[in-house]
Symmetry: D2
Subunit: 402 residues, 4 copies
């Protein structure tokens, strides 16, 4: 397993040690420094193009700036190192682009914008792509829940309250509950993603450098990026970020609920489900660990913590926050990685889930059954007491229909 | 100032010492144990009425149950003390109501429901009323922001990024930014409040005790309470609570942003605004403390922390969570109190805000003005460089128009 | 400052609805507004006495001030209502005391102090008493763990990793692990409680009003209160509060671990332990809910959230924080209530815990035993493979010996 | 376990985009996947050596295992990818080492240990090294505070409460307050670091595979690593991690307090301090942004959030937590990076801090001075009213003396 030493030392902090355990490769790429840099360049390109469309930048200059953005790949680590002094990576990036663009086009690089315009807009691009990946895994989870709900409509099992057997239910209904929850969370997430705005305010949100053309340029810029045009610049009004954060944490929470149920159902003493690819143990080959569900539970904690950090960022000073904004970059990235990690892990967990219907039936405690009987329920005829359940399953399945 | 000793010792924990400092009286009442108890009784009443409407409970029995609910005032502290053993106050409440209802009607008290049905539905009622109070204060804050935005369209001041003067802006634009943020947060909050669902699932969410009538009764029950009918029972799918929490924290965050701005503008060295009722200091009569803003900042922290707690509750075990649900009651109450405390405090702060336009103008740093000049801006003609700003103010003001 | 008659109306927000479910009565009293007010009066008394001992206040004046503090009971709700304008309850309290003390003694009421001196010192008194109550319950929990560890040294059961049976262990060892954890947490908590300092800095931490006597008076004041003398005033250096918070959250976390284990062991399918006073269910008399453990898990969440709030308070502006300090009062109170609620609930849970040793033995999965065998272990002779376990139990038991 | 060639592609998630902005290079290295892998290998080496010293593993076999660990560099990304299935990187690592060690030595690789033993012990090594780096920056911060405290003993400035000028103080005293706070936080951090324990419990904490030798091997293993021997294995008793976390968050909080003060003092309208390397703005060359302080404030938020995550991990199921443990790895890494980032940034901020003593004097508001006068203070003679302050400065400076 020897790998050649990497020539260039990577000074980046991979804050998730061994992150591939948690984060799917495509999502890791979408959140990499390379992806962030690409997004920054896309934004600078869009900025100059919007101004060319508005007629305030010559077309040739706009082309020269775009060419500078398209040029040889810049090194994110170097930008980061140079960004320490100004406190963000945009300032060195702009310097690099101006040097490339040539004397005539240089003044049109980053014209009228502030670093936060570029970084916020890039963050929205990164977030949009990453969120789509998360949504794809959520959709797969919902689909799998639907299959389970339908397939196990008649699979009687114990409902458990405070982890005590309560009365009979069906596994189909449990999966239908997961489905409805995932569906709601995904819809909320897609709405938050769809609402992500472009950022353009100039030095302090006044668009002063554009004189009378500011609002027109803002609209064209948003159009170039395919992001929403905001009512006002939002340098220190962070609702779009906080709301995306809340939606991601909401999704992670639902995934955590499914994962917790799976872990509990997979207990040795319960044995009602098992993950197909039960985690191999380094010491105990007989174990069948529900690793997907376990990793999802780990991810949920990080999603939640980072969403709270984004909420904290709402309290922003004047026209640029002194710290809250800078904390957002990692909070948003970590949150996307964690929510996506949870979605991917639950997907793996459910896609291979082995359901032991016989064990579900036999686990139904004698007391649970006699309690059912006390309530006038003949446990041998589930159709007598699970009528509402079946209709609830139908309701949940209907959510996925167009 | 002597007050008669209260006859009955109150064992309640007032977790906000001297809570009237933070929480408006009306909101405190809406969140009191008495209000919670009243909501529990309303829910039990609605439950039996819904079943009477469905024809599964005799009208006289329903009347008897309602009369039991209307009877002499129960003592919340005693219910709480008795609720320690079962882990919630509904079990002793149901016992009390059954004793009152008489042998014939007793079986129809709480029929088919579980404690969580009653407590969750009551929580939604409490939350709805409290949220409306919060919204009223938010609306007043928005209105006050609109007045400031309009009145100070031409009040030039320094925009500040990282707390350094950047370029000129107007105070009207700053207030317009507050306005747009409050408007967005209030809309989100009203939507979350409007989506609050009734809860009815029976012992474990299957509505088993209602046999085939479960879903009809659920609909009638929601109708009685004026709450939404949920797709499925949501005993362990807590999105409605978490989403309300996120909306409340979002509102508190926006209020915190305004408050932070006020505190910073009110600094002795800045002196651009002052609260009318500047807090009296016990030692320094010359001080003019921005107490409203300060209290709002304190409240924002509690709102955020408790919203995160509600997010944590999404990860709920099986058909009733072992702890997460019980933690919700105080988290939701604290969150409503804190968000409302922030709204009320910012309202007080802004309603009496004294704006010193002359100081705003004179604070504009020489460097800021010469920087403006460098950008081709003649600082003596703000209309030249604040054109976008005025249009942004118009956009924000338009939000409040029907 | 007339005390309006309150017709039974209590404007306090009981942020834990039905708080007696969670918080023991003695702790609720120790955290009540009445207890806070008593602590404020104790501090004002100590302040004037310290100055009398330092010879800078006449003895008669000190007596007059003390008498004013001892006078008819003040009403906390009125103080709170009057405290809204200045932003704290000390300002109206001082006015009331000065009015009582008479013209000659009035100048010696609160002499040289700021509101935060009084409130912080009172908070330390409240926290000290409440923490002692928490420690008493922790000690009882530790004692009960020790009994279980000793009694069940030879009670073989399954160890479970990721909730899968792994290899055999003993219940005594599990209880020994709880014991060691509680012991550590209690020690840390007692150390944090013992380090609680008095606060005295005057208007801005300089003790200016005492001229050259400041540090002597600080020492005497701390001595009067039985609190530590701080190196410096700590108005905006909140380590004592944050460290107490971390210790309380640490204790709550350990209690949560025990509670989680109990809930899992009490599952219907596991059935290895049961709480004696299993929570009565309003609908399912057959259930035996582990209510103590469940309530402890709810409390743990609140303890943790409020400890994080106290950490947030470390970032305090200049010589008095604009919001962070005000947020501390409820955070600290909630944290003490929650940690104490957890300790009390786990104590109840363990004191009546029924341990089913036969079920523990029979639950040991065939696979677990054969795995043991594969490792060369003869499951019929636990002494062969549980030798270290027994010595660990001894180590844990030794912790409780003086 | 073939190591697929990666064409320059790094699948790691760098959760801090452009992390070099925040995290010092040495700390980034100490927290890299490479450092984690090195620590895992160190632990496997120590494990076999301890058993050789205990006489239960042949010396040659121990050498062979050590040689396998010393062999060609393994690729952390591949380990991570292979670790997804078992849920941790140790399982594939052990397989690789066994393959290398040869048939005879292979059984002695990882003998008697579980993955968590290795990962926890490695985490303690990583944390120890990283914490030392954080402490070094904290010491430098303390040293710089001491210089400022001494140099500015007589630099009169306004003390500010709720951001309003209160009474005169000195900048030396403000720096002394910082110093005392940093000193306390560093001491607590060093104590937590010094208490970090080795982890060795085997499959489920019973050390069963070592039969009677378990506790001796545990002691030797801790000795090999220079870590503390724990009372018991702590797989699900996470106080050592949570306490380190609380200490790191405590340090970050103190650094945040200093940073907040610097940002406020550096405001254009206050102008009492400036960072030497004031951040260059991409649009506003006249600005002098306090970038070090701003970045520290961003880091503080992440430190606090991740410390709360570690507290959450205290509630761990049975003998291995299903998710809480897995969430620790990134929480701990992020926390160390964030605390270190804060320490490094504040160090930069203070090392170049320009203090404008004249501005401090002239900023003293007329009202502040007349208030001082009202209190009988002649503002022209600071020695009259700042006597306690000077003694407090001495107390703080004495803390640094051995």
């Amino acid at each position: 397993m020897a790998c050649a030493a990497r020539a260039g030392e990577d000074r980046r902090v991979a804050l998730v040690p061994f992150s591939a355990i948690f984060v799917p490769d495509a999502l890791a790429s979408a959140l990499s420094d390379e992806a962030w840099l690409e997004a920054l360049l896309t934004v600078e390109r869009a900025l100059v193009r919007a101004q060319a469309r508005a007629g305030v930048v010559p077309a040739e200059a706009a082309d020269a700036v775009a060419a500078a953005c398209d040029g040889p790949r810049l090194d994110p680590s170097s930008l980061a190192a140079e960004g320490r002094a100004p406190g963000n990576p945009v300032e060195p990036l702009v310097r690099a682009l101006r040097a490339r663009a040539g004397d005539e086009a240089a003044p049109f690089v980053h014209r009228g914008a502030t670093s936060q315009d570029i970084l916020d807009s890039a963050a929205m691009l990164v977030a949009r792509e990453a969120t789509r990946l998360v949504e794809a895994d959520l959709d797969a989870v919902a689909g799998r829940c639907a299959l389970l709900a339908d397939e196990h409509r008649s699979t009687v099992m114990a409902a458990r309250t405070l982890l005590q057997q309560a009365v009979p239910t069906t596994f189909g209904y449990k999966a239908a509950g997961w489905l409805a929850a995932v569906h709601r969370a995904t819809g909320r997430l897609a709405a938050a993603r769809d609402a992500l705005p472009a950022q353009l305010g100039g030095a302090a949100g006044t668009l002063a450098a554009y004189e009378g053309d500011g609002i027109e340029i803002l609209g064209l810029f948003a159009d170039e990026l395919g992001l929403r045009e905001p009512t006002l610049p939002w340098h220190t009004h962070r609702a779009p970020v906080a709301e995306l954060g809340a939606a991601l944490a909401g999704a992670a929470g639902v995934l955590g609920k499914i994962a917790r149920d799976v872990v509990l159902l997979a207990q040795t003493e319960v044995g009602e489900v098992a993950e197909a690819a039960g985690g191999v143990s380094s010491t105990m080959p007989h174990k069948q660990n529900p690793v997907g569900a376990v990793l999802a539970l780990a991810c949920e904690r990080h999603a939640r913590a980072n969403a709270a950090l984004l909420d904290e960022g709402l309290v922003a000073e004047h026209e640029r926050a002194a710290g809250a904004w800078h904390a957002e970059w990692h909070a948003l990235t970590s949150l996307l990685a964690a929510a996506g990690g949870a979605a991917s892990a639950v997907r793996r967990s459910l896609e291979g889930l082995r359901v032991d219907a016989a064990r579900m039936r036999s686990n139904l405690d004698a007391a649970t059954l006699s309690e059912a009987q006390r309530l006038g329920i003949d446990a041998r005829r589930p159709e007598d007491y699970l009528g509402s359940v079946d209709r609830f399953v139908d309701r949940a399945l209907a959510l996925l229909r167009p």
